[in-house]
Amino acid sequence: MSVPRLETAIGRIRMKNPVMTASGTFGYGTEYADLVDFRQLGAMVVKGISLEPWAGNPPPRLAEVRGGLLNAIGLQNPGVEGFTRDYLPALRELGIPVIVNIWGRTLEEYEAVATRLEAAEGIAGLELNVSCPNIKEGGIAFGTDPAMLERVVRAVRKQTSRTLIVKLAPNVTRIDPLARIAEEAGADALSLINTYPAMAIDIETRRPVLSNVTGGLSGPAIHPIAVKLVYEAVRAVQIPVIGIGGIVEARDAIEFLIAGARAVAVGTVNFTDPTAALAVVAGIRDYLVRHNLSDVSELVGSVRGP
């Protein structure tokens, strides 16, 4: 049998395979350059960028819990100017689609970041992180309130001609209405999930392990939650969905694809092994061969009845 086809597309982003690296877990493209052959990745999503440089939270910012990580980096980033000046040039050289994750504390900030990036070259798409609290509206996350989600997606859609991915927050009772709202407001794709709000306490010091008290849970612990949300989002919308959360090895990514995700992003496991995303690509290829499938698209959404 010939080598199976892995090409996929998210909006107008053509990827040589369905595996990308998740925002915040792979830096800005240069940090792992000597360890990983980037050209083999489907795409790369960079760390969340805001209008102004942002300091994030004081340490401790990260802790290990069973089967996962808890992080409250607090979205530290160089701001959109710093990003386009200091990081984008090297990113352009990677030879794979670069997706910029963006966030804001107000609608206007989201709009402004998108506008600035529209002027920059070498960006394939934007991923809207809607898990941050809207400071104007009392700190409710954009991604958990339907009306706010609609407004922010619509606003950013107006500012960008690039593929627009909306990254949904997982801590909602039902994902399908939010998925539909993002689609109707102009998203080209959805990605989910972001980290799940969680907390750990050091029982010896009786202090939260993170300076921020709570943080976001990532890693294998959240994978079955992510699979369900992806499965439901896929059924709610026509646009492609990117599966994220707890991928450790190829089988986890394949589970997302079978559930209906058109692509996946690999996060926390990069810290254990920066070449994990490449192993996932290889594992998907092997699986297709083993199951006599010639194109990864045959896998996407192929889940059967129970």
Partner: protein, 273 residues
Amino acid sequence: MHADVTSRTIEEAEVALQQTLGPDYRLMTLVSPNIARRARPGQFVHLRLPGLDPAYLLRRPFSLHRAVGDRITILYKQVGVGTAAMARLRSGDRVSVMGPLGNGFPPLPDGFHPLLIGGGYGSAPLFFLAERTSQKGVVFLGGKGRTDLLGDSDFKALGWDVHMATEDGSAGCKGLVTAMLEKWLAEHSSLPTVWYACGPDGMLRAVALLAVEHGVQAWLSLDRRMGCGAGVCLACVVKIQDPEKAGSWKWARVCRDGPVFESRQILWEGEFA
């Protein structure tokens, strides 16, 4: 923060040797040719420990204590689950090693004498530095008790002058290593020195104060909880003076921009709990 680029690698290294070093410390030697070849003093490696319950996802960072031929050695203390798994490793076991990571200690400028100040396993990278520095100097080792003084005879064997202090007085002078350093400085005030230190934050902070007082350069190797070890996760940050904006600060990543910083760069704050 001292600019420096080495290309890193990840290799499956074989455990060649495990040795105990008193009741609390151990030495582990790994066959890790690609890292051994590139390693320089002050750099570290990030280990994926095979015996560790895979529910713990992170690698563990350790300073390079030696790099000879195709081998690297780590001097470690068993403090938690990861180092416990490490202590269970036996010759022939395989460990995934990522490294060499970070910027090492900058070389000694001509005409200066090196002073090394180490607390507990902080002496690990200092021995590597002593081995690679032709100009002999003075080593100050400190610890809670005698079993925390590591490698004094090795430093002596290299021809370095070793001074020791313990908080409980069980070996060397009784007291803190920085008190001993201060006394020594008073007796050798005319000698031009550059300092290299590694140890707990309290000690490093005291060293930094002395360095300012004495107007010397002091390179400190910091120990911070890490995620990736490669500069991407932004977990291991420390506040440093912003070189571009006097009076303001920025975050530096200990794993990538450090672990070695000049003492004046660091803004010591309450964040070091």
